[in-house]
Symmetry: C2
Subunit: 462 residues, 2 copies
């Protein structure tokens, strides 16, 4: 331990060391992510078309494949200062318990009331909506982290916030709902009778408990049918990865300060916002041929977009109202097994990360949820942080890699993203504590049913 | 705002600047807090008598009125580094919203999984238990913050942890319970049939939902009847204030770094652990005549120990099994109205703080809970942290003092303790959000009933 003594448990940057620009990894990608397509014409979506749904500045960011650095507006920097820089933590206690020569670091994004990294993009998207003179924004939320983050950002800026929350979550997670209400958001269980598509779904499937795809469809409908509103999204999109690059930039600055060079960088992957944000600046170095790193995306075995999905154009929502995006997908109708507790349940994946994975720039593994919760509990007990189930996917693989180092004797440096805390996930922890949690891996036949929903057209072979 | 620009939003100390000693304010008190009395003999409790209940080193700390500084063992310092130093935050956004010339700072203790400052003493108490070679510790918990903190500390040290949780909390706060179980604690709803006193209470009051006083009695019984166990307590005791001085010491170091001198220091007061810890080093300066500060204890109007209690010897628990402590008390049988949601429901108060208050060294005010939740919501929306109801008592008075400065034009510097987060208090927030929260101020007659339970003997006139 002596040789490490100089490195503190937590590396905090000074406010003056915080990044002033986001990094756009697309600028360094030779193979750019494929453009969004209009589902009717299969032509690339224009800025004009996208502006019906998204704020103008965000459309520019969405379509910008060229500028490597984009200034963070002062107002967003000021908001970031309320909860950032986030600490880069040396997991001394976990290393000791594992008895590994590996050095483990994690970038902890849970020290804010949204409980996750989602706030980094929420404030950016709310800021641009405000700047455009809009009255409010709409969105969907599943577990509620994104909805909470957006509510916080909107409360800060005095912007109206309408959240469509998947009905089963709305009922099972009343506390998340109340946090959003405390921040002044209007939270509606989805499907609802407030939208055409909601009424249609309710008529066709009375008693349905909703899905993320359905909530997206409702939020988009309200945004496009209400004067002064736009739709915002917490993951998947290029703009979101851009905002989340703050995670990776801070991580890199903190590591550089102490001369630490990571060998492996690990992140959980649902829509890709955390993983993309964390690895961006490191991936930039790899793309430019300056350095090499192993990047590992970790996904649930029950929703294995990267490891078992198809690289194809697909809808971003179940209602098929969004543009088509080229990505690793399980089909927009795919819904993970009901016993899946650990988040990361989106059928698709960021198109940036999909392209990078397709090009062999990163790896992906899938893990089963009981092993994820075992890692979560082990981590909580020695590192003192109760992790979100999502984040715990990354913990699982970080521990696995550290144990491999123990076998080989290699002193690898492992960095992983600890995206958030699990305070609102105690129902899942209770299941695990009671030994009632099950694993589930979809069969090939089930996956085939999902793939059947991917639209087929010329240029979308898979 | 320009003149303040140099002061960052968050002041984090370096690891090397963290205090290495706790500060014992009793050393600087002319009027020492009165000793604990044996309830049978009314003689001061000896170290030997106390050692049946408490760990040896903690008994020494409990009785030490002389040593101003006590070394923090390295193992505890290492644990502190996992979640400390905690930030001292400049509430720029709140100041702006209030349009006040006052400068507001808060010491935020919520960035750890226990969600509060309680962990500072939990690790110390668990450490000394481990050092003594004990097998485990017992305690009670109400809302669950202390129980969670102790569970975390015990998990870290590999110590057994038995928590008696007030039955109504056990049932209403299943998530807190699950956090404790995730950290390996055995959590029993109190009253239970696992103790003699529990069985007695259940027989006399079938269907009772329990009280803190009853849970204390059960935890003490188990500790004193089980080989290798001792009882630990999260507040009130001198030893707890000693450990919590880390809050004030860090605050003072951070303020000194930037040349900031506070005018008013505010803390919420239940048993007094947070308030005592926060003000200790500043109170030391005042006691030594070096500086002057206003100290304000804030308590709920529904449980007004300081502002309406008696300064007398009383039992620390309802079961009347503990020693007698000289303190401001509402009587050990006093239970706040059932509609009281905001924590801080203990009938008594730290004897150190009681003595200081009695000597005119600090002020106390009581506030009603709807005004507390209004302050909580206001704070959450601009400062981005959802505060615990307990902490929000201090926010209420900090805002009130800042608004007075607005009237007078005074540029006072206000520091308050933000003890924790409200993630497990959403039932109370929901009540507030729905307009269903009521205020309650006990009548004089109700208080008289509580006072009637205070033991009367020579030397205990009140």
């Amino acid at each position: 331990m002596n040789q490490n003594r100089e490195i503190p448990y937590k590396i905090y940057l000074e406010e003056s060391e915080m990044p002033k620009q986001w990094y756009n990894v697309r600028a360094d990608m030779k193979n750019k992510p494929a453009p969004l397509l209009n589902p009717a014409t299969h032509e690339p979506m224009t800025a004009e078309e996208l502006s019906v749904v998204f704020c103008e500045d965000l459309v520019k960011q969405e379509l910008d494949n060229d500028n490597a650095y984009i200034d963070i507006p002062q107002e967003i920097l000021d908001f970031y200062k309320m909860y950032r820089p986030s600490p880069l933590v040396r997991a001394y206690c976990l290393e000791k318990q594992l008895d590994t020569p590996a050095k483990i670091y994690y970038k902890f994004e849970g020290n804010n009331t949204s409980g996750s990294h989602k706030l980094n993009s929420a404030i950016a998207q709310a800021y641009y909506a405000k700047k455009q003179g809009l009255k409010g924004v709409t969105t969907e939320t599943g577990a509620g982290q994104w909805g909470t983050a957006l509510s916080m950002a909107c409360a800060y800026l005095g912007l109206d916030c309408k959240v469509y929350m998947v009905k089963c979550s709305y009922e099972q997670k009343p506390f998340r709902r109340e946090v959003m209400r405390t921040y002044g958001a209007a939270v509606t269980p989805s499907p609802s009778d407030t939208t055409e598509i909601g009424r249609k779904i309710l008529a066709e499937h009375p008693g349905t408990t909703g899905s993320l795809g359905c909530a997206i469809s409702e939020a988009v409908e309200v945004a496009t049918h209400t004067q002064g509103y736009r739709y915002v999204l917490g993951s998947v999109l290029n703009q979101v990865l851009l905002h989340q690059s703050i995670i990776g930039l801070e991580t890199k600055t903190a590591l550089d300060k102490y001369g630490i060079v990571p060998d492996i960088i690990i992140g959980c992957a649902g829509g890709g916002s955390n993983l993309g944000g964390l690895i961006s600046p490191f991936m930039g170095e790899k793309l430019r041929g300056e350095k090499d790193y192993r990047f590992i995306a970790v996904e649930p075995a029950s929703c294995p977009s990267f490891t078992r999905g198809k690289f194809a154009y697909d809808f971003c929502d179940t209602g098929m109202v969004t543009p088509l995006q080229k990505m690793y997908t399980l089909g927009s109708g795919f819904i993970p097994s009901a016993n899946h507790a650990g988040g990361l349940r989106y059928h698709g994946m960021s198109s940036i990360l999909s392209q990078l994975y397709h090009d062999g720039m990163m790896e992906a593994v899938s893990v089963e949820q009981t092993s994820v919760f075992a890692a979560a509990e082990q981590f909580a007990r020695v590192e003192g942080i109760l992790p979100a189930p999502e984040s715990s996917h990354a913990i699982r693989v970080a521990i696995d890699e550290a144990l491999k180092c123990k076998e080989t004797g290699e002193e690898k440096t492992i960095v992983f993203g600890l995206t958030g805390t699990g305070y609102f996930d105690m129902v899942a922890y209770e299941k695990y504590n009671n030994g009632e949690m099950m694993d589930y891996i979809p069969t090939d036949k089930e996956l085939e049913a999902g793939f059947a929903g991917i639209p087929r057209f010329e240029g979308n072979e898979f």
